[in-house]
Symmetry: C2
Subunit: 279 residues, 2 copies
């Protein structure tokens, strides 16, 4: 396993990697969700690149950029154990040099859900992912379904800008109580951690109702809200039942699939989760 | 010489091209300026891709998209004679399918000069060039100095987004009377065509003064305006003496290099030209 820092080191190392090359872009502090992406890339590809970069441009000034958990030594141990081939840990100074002034923006699918509450977030995500793809030129790139809107936004960007990268979206990995793995779970105190299982419970309650035939988008949202409201430590920011392609809120009866998503605060910690309802 | 239309045909043909691959993005109706870019690419690269695409997103509604001159049969003859290897002529429907919603925007260097008068122009240019680069994955791409701001904008985009493409900017090619070759010269009637030589005359007058030691940006602008005002058919939109890197207007004494640029109407036809003053 080779570890590189600069873009020019990355390009040199990339040239020696056998095809196909899979890439797993991460912000580090790796958990079982990330490792499942590395495993999927290992299964599909001859070579696996993992990038570790806490991307400043996807955080608003009031968000948790400085607090974002980091543990590169542990990340490298985990990645070596998974058999990743090339680890790229760029500096913010090289990714965003003085005079940086170019942005990639996906317009429509970034607007609802996370976009309403994090207005500059996806512009930062698409810009850095375009940079990662251009620098590493992978054949395939792996993202988690946990960040459902991010996956949709990146797929839209890849289609619209003709990136030669196939996007693979892998299932959310969950703790035994259903909490989706997230680096931000590290912020939770023990009481909040226990309470955070309510996200999966709320999604599951709505899924059970859907599987029993419930098709009212309003009612499915109500089921999720009721579950979240049963947990005193949970402070929901939004609860959504949307079209999985456009991410626009569904009204009336669901005709086909739907995407359930939510953002919930536990103290200062903001968690998101989602579930796809398949007709 | 192979001619392809769809992105998937392009990708297949691209795979069989020997490296290095040079690309010349054009809007067709080729002239000696374009052909000098093809010749430069032939000199540097084993394979040369030329794209012909009148990109709708870089034209404002009131601009000349529909009138823009086209002659694909003649373009293909000229390109065959120059030894280009692969010609890509995409459809607007494939480049901008329904639901297209992603834009590449360079912020600062797009603002002055052309950006003031054509506010959506460079967003269209950078978006389509990003698409062309991603689809064709050239090692080198060739642009004309005639579109000085476009060249600066594309170089900024390539740096900021880490495209693995080296940008080559080739000298402006001129008619015997100094008029820069441009597809839009085809709009000029014989009187306007004769009058249009005033752009080069105005630039040359300023350059002569600079070479004699004149360093006042105001005075160099005045020299250009005086020349343009001597031609009754010329209707200047802007006349600029700017920093060649930032394209911001220079004031006071010039310290180093400068970029002279202008946009001038002849009837409805808008021509641009420029010259770099080297200290």
């Amino acid at each position: 396993m080779q570890v590189v820092k600069t873009i020019s080191e990355l390009r040199s190392a990339r040239r020696n990697l056998p095809a196909a090359v899979g890439m797993v872009p991460t912000m580090g502090f790796l958990h079982a969700g990330h490792l499942s992406l590395v495993r999927a890339a290992r299964r599909d590809c001859a070579s696996v690149i993992v990038s570790i970069f806490v991307n400043p441009t996807q955080f608003a000034p009031h968000e948790d950029l400085d607090a974002y958990p980091r543990n590169t030594a542990r990340d490298l141990e985990l990645l070596a154990a998974e058999g990743a081939h090339l680890i790229w840990i760029p500096d913010a100074e090289e990714m965003y040099p003085e005079n940086f002034q170019t942005w990639v923006e996906v317009v429509e699918v970034t607007r609802p859900l996370e976009g309403l509450y994090r207005p500059i977030h996806f512009r930062g995500v698409t810009t850095v992912v375009a940079k990662l793809f251009n620098a590493a030129t992978p054949h395939q790139a792996y993202f988690g379904q946990k960040d459902a809107q991010q996956a949709a936004v990146i797929q839209q960007m890849v289609r619209d800008l003709n990136f030669g990268v196939e996007i693979k979206v892998c299932p959310t990995v969950r703790e035994p109580d259903g909490l989706a793995f997230s680096s931000r779970n590290a912020y939770l105190d023990p009481e909040e951690r226990r309470a955070a299982a309510i996200l999966f419970k709320a999604l599951s309650n709505a899924q059970i109702a859907f599987n029993k035939g419930e098709r009212s988008a309003d009612l499915l949202r109500e089921i999720m809200k009721t579950a979240l409201n049963s947990e005193p430590l949970a402070n929901p920011q939004y609860v959504s039942c949307s079209n999985p392609d456009t991410l626009l809120e569904l009204t009336g009866q669901i005709n086909g699939c739907a995407l359930l998503t939510m953002a919930v605060f536990f103290g200062k910690t903001r968690l998101i989760d989602n579930m796809i309802l398949e007709a």
